[in-house]
């Protein structure tokens, strides 16, 4: 039933309708869905008219600046802010000792301003509000802090030793008290009876979102004690609650505004000190306060992807059939708990769900250290598991004499499968994804192989949530669709736009369902005082969850509109439809009126009414139970990637020439948006694989800038060939599934497998820098 849309062939922008097929085929051809639509905010962005948070000014606003610790683990003996406070232009200074605070964060294990003990180099000890950013920075330099240094530990293995310094007194042994242990089937027996067992240990690096726009906040209190926050958060409603708790006020006093943001990628999934400190400072000095991280601060003090050591064994039969996996993951949590420590939740789902594998054992140790702490980052947990699993799929194939694509095909998930955790696979185009990348990666290359270089191809697949993810008790999103006198359709959605283009796709869904031109739909999505509740933007959930909510709200308002039109046209509502912006009589299509006339009439007649549709979509899924079983997503997304690489023997340099990336997207609602997510995902995944690493020594970040933290540049990027496979999921809006993280997830595994193919050397540690590759090549030669 799946149908590839070959995006490798460039197509004209706009207007090209995708022909409908499959079980989700609509009653009429699509007008909007499947066309290549420019983002709603594209004009603002290409003209510079867009106003990001740093561009905003509030009357009376002053600047805040945070002072951080000089040492990673210490007792604060004395803080003297008197010199800072007497600097002209300074309005006030807050420390952990002059403001009241409450614990916050995922595990409520820290406060924003550390009053007694600092535990990592990003720790906040004071903050200044001043008339200018420069004065605030100068005042920070005038604050005197005396530290009594404490023994510190930066390696998770060492942190587990009995004699290791204790980072939080309430957590003996430095163990984060989350246990992620899962077993299914008879693992011991499967390993005993297997024809082949492969094993390996994989070291995955500290990386960070490195958004072009840094974290920022503006806090403004009104005289009645209400707080307005301009924030870069991705979870406005949970943030409202968390921030209220941290400040000791009730959530209804906080209004959250979300201006356009310069990237997020998971960075805004938790509440972080910057927002609390902006609010504390603003209350302390009685003025609105703005804090914008500088670049160095962004590298030091925004959440990272968690580094981990992933040990995996895989058991298989001689024909390549998987029998069992046994994994243990050691995670460096850093000094406090944010989302980084919950990544095993996703690691486990991939380990126990990707490819058919009946027997599973999974265990973790999540360890406090004095390193900076990790949060969530695009595809979190899944990149790590996929890297380990896919390395071993190749090793199995090699040692069993099987083709590398064939072993993946034999073990591929299929519609109707239920994974050992109880995840129910419905639509699944994984085999088609494999076929597409196997085809594309072998297209001719118009470049001869250079002397001293070898060439190789690698494959990797991906399995991820595609229909929301119930990581909170709710996975819901609200939507309101309002029609006005002029035919403007306003979608007010709980979902958040973070540059990924979700508002555009939601507007497309509403236009399609209502039967109005796309250009008449606008989206309001950035103000908690206006928009309905949503759990946040994460887990590739917005197109699916917010899309279903928007679809249902559009359906609701359409039914109301047709009822109202029925009285005007003197026809039963069932006999009417809305298409091309006109309500018409189905039996006599020439009898039609523009829909705005129907709306207007509703406003001006006796017993009038307004037309507002609404919906709340919370998918029929379960949270994982205490045994980590449950169907967390309505449907699942699949992808395969293949990489063509060249490796220079003399230097260890890897060049990725081509990436083929095929994705089961359910349906490509806006193909240009789908491609953009995949291409950007590949960029981020390739950086993880080849160049990006937040280097820490004794808890200090050694490379807090773009010169030393290497994002791939335009000349570094390979040719990318994308295939969108449309399986038309029965539960997705117009058949769509989530896609936002998929491009990032398998690419490092595909490249590692290609390097193995090219050189015979297996790299097990990221990033695969020339030095690491060179050393591995040397070791092979002996």
């Amino acid at each position: 039933m799946s149908r590839p849309v070959d995006s490798a062939v460039p197509r004209a922008a706009g207007g090209e309708a995708v022909e409908a097929a499959g079980p989700g085929a609509p009653a009429r051809p699509f007008r909007v869905i499947g066309t290549r639509v420019a983002k709603l905010d594209a004009v603002e962005k290409v003209t510079g008219a867009v106003q990001y948070l740093p561009d905003l000014e509030v009357p009376g606003m002053v600047w805040g600046k945070i002072l951080r610790t000089r040492v990673p683990h210490a007792r604060i003996v004395r803080i003297d802010t008197s010199r800072a406070e007497s600097l002209p232009g300074v309005l006030g200074v807050v420390t952990g000792r002059n403001v009241e605070q409450r614990p916050f964060g995922y595990a409520r294990d820290h406060v924003a301003l550390k009053g007694d003990v600092v535990r990592c180099i990003r720790d906040e000890v004071a903050a200044v509000a001043a008339e200018t950013e420069e004065i605030a920075a100068e005042a920070c330099r005038l604050i005197e802090v005396d530290y009594e240094e404490l023994p510190a530990v930066f390696d998770p293995t060492e942190a587990l030793r009995p004699e290791a310094p204790r980072i939080h007194p309430q957590f003996p042994g430095n163990r984060v008290n989350f246990a992620y242990t899962f077993t299914a089937g008879d693992v011991a027996r499967a390993f005993r009876e297997a024809d082949l067992v492969v094993e390996g240990t994989y070291r995955l690096n500290y990386v960070t979102t490195a958004c072009l726009g840094t974290m920022a906040a503006i806090a403004q209190w009104d005289p009645r004690g209400n707080l307005t926050m301009w924030s870069t958060t991705q979870i406005p409603f949970l943030y409202q609650k968390d921030l209220a708790e941290a400040l000791g006020i009730s959530g209804d006093r906080i209004r959250v505004l979300q201006p356009p943001v310069g990237g997020n990628f998971g960075r805004g999934l938790d509440l972080y000190p910057i927002d609390i400190i902006a609010a504390l400072l603003a209350r302390h000095v009685g003025r609105p306060v703005k804090i914008v991280f500088d670049r160095e601060e962004e590298f030091v003090a925004s959440p990272t992807r968690e580094p981990c050591v992933f040990t995996l064994r895989t058991a298989a039969r001689a024909d390549g059939t998987l029998l069992a996996r046994d994994a243990r993951v050691l995670i460096d949590n850093g000094a406090y708990v944010s989302w980084g420590s919950t990544t095993p939740y996703v690691m486990m789902t991939t380990l126990a769900g990707f490819y058919r594998c009946p027997s599973i054992r999974f265990d973790t140790a999540i360890v406090y250290t004095n390193n900076v702490y990790s949060g969530s980052m695009r595809g979190y947990g899944n990149l790590e598991s996929t890297f380990a699993i896919e390395a071993q799929m190749d090793e199995l194939a090699e040692r069993l004499g099987l083709d590398r694509v064939e072993i993946r095909r034999r073990n591929a998930n299929r519609p109707g499968d239920v994974t050992p955790q109880g995840l129910r696979i419905t639509s699944c185009g994984f085999t088609e994804c494999l076929d597409a990348v196997a085809r594309d990666i072998r297209r001719p290359v118009d470049r001869p192989l250079r002397p001293g270089w070898t060439r190789g191809i690698g494959y990797a697949g991906m399995f991820h949530v595609g229909g929301g993810a119930r990581v909170y008790r709710s996975d819901g999103c609200g939507a309101i669709v309002k029609l006005d006198d002029f035919g403007k359709v306003t979608l007010i959605t709980g979902a958040s736009e973070i540059g990924q283009g979700s508002e555009t796709v939601l507007a497309m869904i509403v236009a399609e369902e209502l039967g109005v031109p796309f250009g008449r739909v606008e989206v309001v999505n950035n103000d908690t005082a206006v928009k309905p509740w949503d759990v946040g933007v994460h887990a590739s959930r917005t197109t699916f969850i917010a899309g279903n909510a928007a679809l249902l709200a559009a359906r609701d308002v359409k039914a109301q509109l047709l009822r109202l039109a029925g009285s005007q046209l003197e026809e039963p509502a069932e006999g009417l439809d809305l298409e091309d912006g006109h309500v018409h009589v189905k039996a006599a299509p020439q009898r039609r009126i523009p829909y705005e006339k129907v709306v207007r009439a509703g406003h001006f007649r006796e017993d009038g009414r307004i037309l507002i549709g609404q919906a709340f979509y919370d998918p029929p899924t379960q949270m994982l139970d205490k045994d980590f079983r449950g169907n967390v997503s309505v449907t699942y997304a699949f992808a395969a990637q293949a990489a063509l690489v060249e490796v220079e023997e003399a230097t260890g340099k890897i060049e990725v020439l081509r990436v083929a990336s095929a994705h089961d997207v359910g349906r490509a609602l806006n193909p240009v948006g789908c491609e953009g997510q995949i291409e950007g995902g590949i960029h981020m995944g390739l950086g993880y694989c080849l160049t990006e690493e937040l280097r820490l020594r004794d808890g200090r970040v050694l490379n807090p800038g773009f010169l030393d933290y290497k994002l791939l540049t335009a000349p570094d990027m390979p040719e990318i060939l994308i295939t969108l496979i449309e399986t038309v999921d029965e539960a997705g809006p117009f058949g769509a599934k989530g896609l936002g993280e998929a491009g990032t997830i398998p690419i490092s595994a595909a490249v590692a497998n290609a390097v193995k193919d090219a050189t015979g050397v297996r790299l097990t540690e990221l990033p695969m820098t020339p030095e690491r590759v060179y050393r591995a090549l040397r070791a092979r030669k002996g």
Binding site: G48, R295, E679, G681, G705, A714
Partner: protein, 173 residues
């Protein structure tokens, strides 16, 4: 002491006269004094290209240049790029520069934070080299980082723009 000095220059086709401190960067001057916030601050060390503007038609990272160093020069920011193109081509307002139009049609902007700098770098590239190869476009944008797009649609946008910019000239030749 950081005294103020008189600065006169052209910004987006208009003469501007201001008193500025010697330490003030062109980026601070544009964003702070002139409130031209289309140019973004991202790294402040010249490593990311987000603050790229044109000085006498050539791309420059505004965070690395002191405002006083552009005395008497002609500065174009993203806000002034349509006007620059209209003057160059005779296109009528509100026509966008072909690079802006290319970004719009090809999906070159996602979060958009790099977009202004990227467009200015590309516009400068095409002024210097109207028919770049794909490799030359990539090389020309090497100093501009993007975290969202993988550069694919950005490169395509610049190719589309170059084609369009050549067309009227070829037609009139």
């Amino acid at each position: 002491m950081d005294d103020d000095h008189r600065l006169e220059l052209t910004v987006n086709g208009r003469r501007v006269r201001r008193e500025v401190a010697g330490s003030r960067t062109l980026l601070e001057f544009l964003r702070g004094d002139l409130r031209l916030t289309g140019t973004n601050l991202s790294c402040d060390t010249g490593d990311c290209g987000a603050c790229t503007v044109l000085v006498d038609g050539r791309p420059v990272t505004a965070c690395l240049v002191l405002a006083l160093d552009v005395e008497g020069r002609d500065v174009t920011t993203i806000e002034g790029l349509p006007g620059r193109w209209q003057t160059q081509s005779g296109a009528r307002p509100p026509a966008l520069h072909p690079v802006q139009q290319g970004f719009l049609e090809e999906g070159g902007a996602q979060c958009g934070f790099c977009t202004a700098g990227m467009i200015m770098a590309a516009a400068g590239l095409l002024e210097a080299r109207p028919s770049p190869t794909e490799a030359e476009i990539r090389a020309g944008l090497e100093g501009n980082l993007c975290r969202c797009t993988g550069y694919v649609k950005i490169i395509r946008a610049v190719e589309v723009a170059a084609e369009r910019m050549r067309r009227p000239r070829e037609a009139s030749a």
